[in-house]
């Protein structure tokens, strides 16, 4: 890669080690839900920068719009209406890819190089390599990637890998008017998150917590949740992980064992033929049902 910031740490369906002479600083986006006012500037900025236009939908009585993530909507403000302590609360989640350190999508993908994990932690899809199998949509613990009906390719948030590569922050972070979104090294973001937690605890949110789930090795999008004891109220899984079924299905060991066993069947056939030769009808017709030695 010409740019150090685009060095690759892992890629889907690889058969060799990606270039790893250099290491990059792990980056992260911090989403402080307590500061979010639900203005959707981040959604607009994402559309603008990535040149995306979702279909104009129908207002169904919720603030969430469009209704779901799609190939045209890579980030979405979800206005979860939850009753906490007898009062209705809007738990706003900025939904989109969390850029897992241990990405289930990348593990599931059978197309070489269709999913890459940059050295800085960003997980990106290269649609030109995508074959449209949708395995990543089964492998993601957060249900993020979306298969386009138009071109059978999957799309999701890139964490503005193109902007980050040239030293800019993601478009959503740039647009946020309340500093609910911050971008920097993951270390700095976790440090900032701790300060925000202290602030929240002082304001009475005793259970405020940072959402950086260890089941997927941590994420490069980290949330500060005022009600940190109930991430599911925000629509986030409590303990996301790649899971045993997925690991068994797409593990290198299972693949190698499967292929080697199949090769062994061929070898066994050759060896058997060499040792015993073909089964032929004896020249005289033979006795019924008797195999001649």
């Amino acid at each position: 890669m010409a740019l150090q910031s685009l060095d690759i740490k892992d890629l889907s369906a690889r058969t060799s080690t990606p270039p790893s002479a250099r290491t990059a600083l792990p980056v992260a986006k911090l989403v402080d839900v307590s500061r979010c006012i639900g203005c959707k500037a981040c959604q607009s900025a994402c559309m603008e920068w990535n040149d995306l236009r979702d279909v104009i939908g129908v207002q169904e009585g919720f603030y969430t719009s469009p209704p779901d993530l799609s190939d045209q909507s890579w980030t979405l403000m979800r206005f979860n209406e939850v009753e906490i302590g007898g009062a209705l609360q809007w738990l706003i989640l900025k939904d989109g890819c969390l850029h897992c350190e241990d990405p289930g999508c990348l593990k599931a993908c059978p197309a070489p190089g269709a999913i890459v994990q940059y050295a800085n932690g960003i997980v990106d899809f290269h649609q030109e390599q995508c074959i449209g199998c949708g395995y990543c949509t089964a492998g993601c613990p957060f249900r993020i990637p979306r298969l386009s009906a138009r071109d059978s390719k999957v799309y999701k948030c890139t964490l503005c890998s193109d902007r980050v590569a040239v030293g800019l922050e993601p478009a959503c972070v740039k647009s946020c008017p309340t500093q609910a979104l911050s971008f920097g090294s993951k270390e700095d973001m976790l440090f900032l998150a701790e300060h925000r937690l202290e602030d929240l605890r002082e304001r009475g949110f005793g259970k405020a917590a940072v959402y950086d789930p260890p089941g997927v090795g941590g994420t490069h999008v980290v949330f500060v949740l005022p009600h940190g004891d109930q991430p599911e109220a925000y629509g986030l899984p409590a303990n996301p992980s790649v899971g045993l079924v997925q690991r068994a299905w797409r593990s290198g060991v299972a693949r190698a064992a499967g292929v080697l066993t199949m090769a062994a069947v061929l070898v066994a056939g050759v060896l058997h033929y060499m040792r015993h030769g073909p089964l032929e009808v004896p020249p005289e017709g033979g006795d019924e049902g008797k195999v001649q030695p």
């Binding site: 089964a138 059978s152 069947v265 009808v281």
Partner: protein, 213 residues
């Protein structure tokens, strides 16, 4: 019938042979494309199918053809594949038979115990592949199933395909090993000696019991 033809017995009808080779061709396509999806080591096989995206599109369609041809073909032969005491005897002496050591392979009818095991294992395995295949089929059917269900489907699909390959591998080798078997599936006929030797009970049946030597 010329006197020469009198030595030959019809074993596989025209429709059965066409169905058999159609299944074989479709299985080969499914196996090669499935292998490319299963292991990155074999991803280059996608070039045989016009590249990854086209291969991914064709694989499930080939699966539909397999189901459409295999099941009618298999059901037409269910009578000849009923499990009989002679088949248990064949299975008991299977390894000796493979070494050509044991003298008694039993009173096999049209198909021996090994062929029937193949028949009865392929019925559920192809069904499992078809059902899990539909669950994974993008973009039309997969969205109806949860990610967790599709992960299980993927695992079952790969494991079933593995069993199917081993089964078909044994089937192909057995046919190569047993001289006359491939000819029988191509031309449809076997010699009387072949029939008497490999399938004595079937031989007596098709010759009306008059098939002495």
């Amino acid at each position: 019938m010329s006197p020469r033809d009198g030595d030959l017995l019809p074993r596989h009808g025209h429709a059965a042979r066409v169905a058999h080779w159609a299944v074989a061709l479709v299985f080969t396509m499914l196996f090669l494309s499935g292998l490319a999806l299963f292991s990155p080591f074999f991803y280059w096989l996608s070039a045989l199918f016009g590249g990854g995206p086209l291969m991914r599109f064709l694989h499930p369609l080939a699966g539909v053809v397999l189901v459409a041809v295999f099941y009618p073909y298999a059901l037409a032969h269910v009578r000849d594949n009923r499990w009989l005491p002679a088949d248990s005897q064949w299975v008991a002496h299977m390894f000796a038979y493979m070494r050509k050591e044991h003298a008694d392979i039993g009173e096999t009818h049209k198909y021996n115990g090994g062929q029937k095991l193949m028949y009865w294992s392929m019925l559920p395995i192809i069904a499992a592949l078809a059902i899990t295949g539909v669950m994974l089929w993008q973009p039309w059917f997969a969205p109806a199933f949860s990610p967790a269900a599709r992960r299980v489907a993927g695992l079952v699909h790969a494991a079933s395909a593995f069993v199917m390959f081993v089964g078909i591998g044994v089937h192909v080798y057995a046919a190569l090993w047993t001289k006359g078997a491939i000819d029988a599936m191509i031309r449809g006929t076997v010699t009387r000696a072949w029939a008497r030797f490999h399938h004595p009970a079937w031989y007596r049946e098709v010759t009306g019991g008059k098939g002495g030597r």
